[in-house]
Amino acid sequence: MSGNGQWLASLVEREGTPAVLLQEQPSGRRIPLPQLRGLTPHRSPSLSWNGRYLALLVQQGPRRLAVVEDRARGRLHRLQLPAGLELERLSLAPDGRRLAVAAVAQGRSQVRLFDLSGFLEPDLPPAWAVRGAPAVSGEAP
């Protein structure tokens, strides 16, 4: 669920294939996610405050990758995380500034945090917008 409650992302199965479903609330209207086409979603869809960013784990062959779809810019970011991590879960902070992943490394499950503030623009609630910061509210389709 996005921080403002307007968007809900879930994993569904369509004809035996996993897919990400993004819906606007309360209407339930489905929103297309073109950047994720061709990827196999695995787990943990996680939305930022206004639903600009959708982070999730995808399966690519034997590997799991963390990706972030930036709906405002229509871009998909493949996150470069340290090698050797078997990603299990992911959580994106609502403002998009941090990411937590649970990953197995050397047989042990561990939570690690990553700072995304130098990488992604923040996605803040309108009242928190900083003067001079890039406008992000309302950019999402």
Partner: protein, 163 residues
């Protein structure tokens, strides 16, 4: 005029970053906090919101919900939440850190509880119609929970408003 190969590569990288909407090189590990988490045993099920990280950690063979203040890089006590007869499965925290939604197993049942830190108490949230909660996510203001519920072999998502 000719441009050096390194110069062209730098321009290309800058242009790519500009076009991709990225501000910088990529995710930066939060080394201090990660080191501190690594020293504390195994963990999973992270939930980030505001300055708070909630997770399930294994301490001396027991799973328990923990809350970490990411800004201060220190754990915060959760009196009234962890019980010796309960096994937490999933946790989600509100942006102000005052509320946690926890799916846990207790007395052979799986239940969803909303824990309010201000009053140090956990209130069970009933599934209607009846179902087995599997995972819960709190809205940032803590006033609504999205719950994955298993009902008759189907997994559905319920939205539950909480006062």
């Amino acid at each position: 005029m000719t441009l050096g190969r390194a110069h062209v590569a730098g321009m290309a990288a800058g242009l790519a970053a500009l076009l991709s909407g990225c501000l910088g090189p990529g995710p930066m590990p939060m080394q201090g906090l990660n080191r501190s988490l690594a020293e504390q045993g195994s963990q999973g099920e992270p939930s980030l919101s505001g300055r708070w990280l909630a997770l399930i950690a294994n301490r001396q063979g027991r799973d328990r919900v923990e809350l970490v203040d990411v800004e201060r890089q220190r754990p915060v006590p959760l009196p009234g939440l962890n019980r010796p007869d309960a096994l937490p499965l999933s946790v989600s925290v509100s942006a102000d850190g005052s509320r946690l939604a926890v799916v846990r197993q207790r007395e052979g049942r799986t239940e969803l509880v909303l824990h309010r830190r201000t009053v140090m108490s956990s209130e069970p949230i009933r599934m209607e119609p009846e179902g087995v909660p599997r995972r819960a996510t709190l809205r940032a203001d803590g006033r609504e929970i999205a719950v994955e519920v298993s009902r008759g072999g189907l997994v559905q998502v319920d939205l539950i408003a909480v006062p």
